[in-house]
């Protein structure tokens, strides 16, 4: 556990809840960078999946360390998995439909709302 005044070697060898949370935050931030910076729509979808996975890590870690008796966190993870699978299928169908319209998946070229 991350506490002030804990010796750093202990932090490396003893894995606790906060390690998993930190990993999830790191992956979420990386996904966020990709979400903003990428110009290819498919890469945007991939980064979205990355962020959803980071959230899943959070749910599973909380379930393991706080409420292992209830297991509700893992059930939530299953629902997230389902929703993200549906989202990926519809998202890629939208990308393909847009590609048919403009023959490009570059986000910078879709400026219809700019006026």
């Amino acid at each position: 556990m991350i506490q002030t005044g804990v010796d750093p070697m202990n932090l490396v060898t003893h894995i606790g809840l906060y390690h998993y949370l930190a990993l999830a935050v790191l992956l979420f931030s990386i996904g966020l960078v990709g979400l903003i910076t990428s110009r290819n729509m498919i890469r945007v979808l991939m980064c979205l999946e990355l962020m959803l996975n980071a959230v899943n890590i959070n749910f599973v870690a909380f379930n393991n360390y706080l409420h292992l008796d209830v297991m509700a966190g893992q059930v939530f993870s299953i629902f997230i998995l389902t929703v993200s699978a549906a989202e990926a299928a519809v998202g890629l169908a939208v990308v393909i439909a847009l590609y048919r319209m403009r023959s490009s998946v570059d986000i910078e070229r879709y400026t219809v709302l700019k006026g």
């Binding site: 992956l27 999946e49 893992q74 299953i78």
Partner: protein, 214 residues
């Protein structure tokens, strides 16, 4: 100690591969690195007593999702395989925003959670049969309504994806006329002509060898 070694290994793999997904210029490599991220996250799930979720993660994400993504790349990526570099303003803005989010979330996550040890019976069940049985019982008792709603959602998403990605009749007409003009330009038979020929050959009306020779 073993947990620590496994955790750090999976962390290193997943973070490196995630950085690759975001910053690799070739989108095919990004999609393949995404498989690595998903697999290492499945390893993290195993460390957290979520064996069923780890398998589901491997099947749904690392296999299914990546194949859909690769198909998407295949359909759309004839020219735009490489991302063009961004303007420096957008790079700067995104980095600032992501750093801000990272710091904010790290600060939030340091909340002193009250960690409770699991009861002995739960530990014994997990040791014997894994989490699958407990999850199944939960899904079909307490969470049965969301579970059924999720199945409806999947059905709707499937129908929606097919309708969205389907060629409309206008598109199809345009496509065949394009192919027709192409065949007039180059003097080669179109796909439709080829398939009609093959169909005729399979009925025994035309001998394919003769046709290809001539």
């Amino acid at each position: 100690m073993t947990e620590a070694i496994i955790f750090w290994a999976f962390t290193a793999i997943s973070v490196t591969a995630a950085l690759g997904v975001v910053f690799n210029r070739s989108i095919i490599y990004s999609a393949l690195l995404l498989i690595l991220v998903f697999l290492s996250i499945a390893g993290i799930f195993v460390l957290n007593n979520a064996d069923f979720l780890a398998i589901a993660q491997t099947i749904v994400y690392a296999v299914g999702m990546t194949i859909i993504v690769l198909f998407g790349i295949m359909f759309t990526g004839d020219r735009a395989m490489l991302d063009e570099p961004l303007t420096s303003v957008r790079k700067l803005v995104s980095l600032v925003l992501a750093t801000f989010t990272f710091v904010l979330l790290i600060k939030t996550v340091q909340f002193p959670f009250s960690i409770q040890p699991a009861s002995q019976s739960v530990i014994q069940t997990l040791m014997q049969s894994g989490s699958t049985k407990m999850l199944g019982e939960l899904l079909f008792s307490q969470f049965v309504v969301p579970f059924e709603l999720a199945s409806v959602l999947l059905l709707v998403a499937m129908v929606g994806a097919i309708v969205l990605a389907k060629k409309t009749f206008a598109d199809a007409g345009e496509m065949s006329s394009q192919q027709l003009s192409y065949s007039i330009d180059s003097g080669e038979p179109t796909k439709e002509a080829n398939s009609a020929l093959h169909a005729a050959a399979s009925r025994g009306e035309v001998h394919l060898e003769e046709v290809t020779r001539s």
